[in-house]
Symmetry: C2
């Protein structure tokens, strides 16, 4: 059975302007790979309704699941929940359970559940909540789309809550080899190996350290025997390499 | 005149598997913003012909310019140049000038210009070369698409070569204010300000440091007078804030 596929949609002007360096993509990529889910595409779009709705629709249709980050806070530029509702053609309103969680969180801190904070309880019809153990305001799942916060600590906590609900695949195994030769010398034999093991993903990543050019080879697959066999053949081709 | 738009296409299994943390997106975002070019979308796709061709076509059509990173090395998984040729419906072959540069670079290091290295001289018909001052193998520009290496030092050097050839826009100015109040308390007044200054982009970014919740507000625009005016109004709303 092929591994399930996923896509990520990063929402936020601050990433595209260079103000903020996104870290959620790298985190999610690692978590999905561990569970045998193949992250097949990532898109980054600005805080713009048309762009968000179009991307959600395209990704939701093309992949088994979609993870979004960003744009679910209390301010005027937080438009993700409305865009998701629009993408699914459903209405949106204050979710009683979400409101209760926000009210309890505000009360415990002596804060008022004002209009801005209440915006964070607006959830598209038919969605289920994703817990936010950090700052209460929930994410939500609708169809195959999981909508989460952009703040990394909150995003990571939400991902931890969602992952156990997903169907994973055979774990993607990975072995790597470091060859202290430039990629241009490794490429020929490696290409032949890749043809022979076309069921595996064999990646080649050049590096240079202190003027020495080298190449890291990463072999990925779901069948342990095949990954082992390819790695043995590779190690024979480059006996001086370091596992 | 509206600012020119750009998109980025990051190509590589290693980013989507979580093995490698991309840094080129953040670098390019900052450089484009400085020149008044609005990075409007980023996509990350695997080393897969169909995905690359589809993304190049979509982005090239939708934005003024497109920057790609990754997949132009000597190994079997480096398929970007062929995909770009396919996307533009042109043939691809060894470019004499590119071959000369690779030959000179190899000779200076006592290396052989073997078949794998020669692959890096394959350039789509009608493309112009982008210099690679680090490791010789050039990038190239075809139509509105700039094709560059994924290795960050090489990517950055190539971007430095391409940027002066682009038409920039009015510089995007940015001013920020740090308010030591949670976003839920800032949101109301901020929303009114954003409506009043709808020609500007006003972003709100919550943070928490040592248990204290605060909010950074970033005001962006191209007219200095407007950005100044909005920032003055904002500072009046939150007199305790720090510029």
């Amino acid at each position: 059975m092929p591994n399930p596929t996923a896509a990520m949609l990063v929402i936020g002007d601050e990433i595209l302007s260079g103000r903020t360096r996104d870290s959620n993509m790298h985190f999610l990529a690692g978590e999905l790979t561990k569970r045998g889910i193949r992250l097949a595409e990532v898109r980054v779009v600005p805080d713009d309704s048309e762009a968000i709705v179009a991307a959600v629709r395209a990704l939701s249709k093309a992949y088994d699941s979609v993870f979004t980050s960003g744009g679910i806070g209390p301010t005027h530029d937080d438009i993700t929940a409305d865009c998701i509702a629009a993408a699914f053609g459903v209405t949106i309103g204050v979710h009683p359970e979400a409101r209760d969680r926000l009210a309890a969180f505000a009360e415990a801190r002596g804060n008022e559940l004002n209009e801005a904070r209440l915006r964070m309880a607006r959830i598209p019809d038919g969605a289920t909540l994703i817990d936010n153990p950090i700052s209460a305001a929930p994410g939500f799942t609708i169809g195959n789309v999981h909508v989460m916060a952009g703040v990394p600590t909150v995003f990571e906590a939400m991902v931890a809550g969602v992952l156990p609900t997903l169907v994973g695949g055979a774990p993607l195994l990975s072995q790597s080899l470091t060859i202290h030769r430039p990629e241009g010398e490794v490429a020929g034999p490696l290409g032949k190996l890749a043809t022979e093991y076309s069921d595996l993903s064999i990646g080649s990543y050049p590096f240079s350290r202190e003027g020495i050019f080298g190449t890291n080879i990463v072999i990925r697959g779901t069948e342990p025997g095949r990954v082992d066999a390819a790695m043995s053949d590779l190690a024979e081709l480059f006996p001086e390499a370091v596992r």
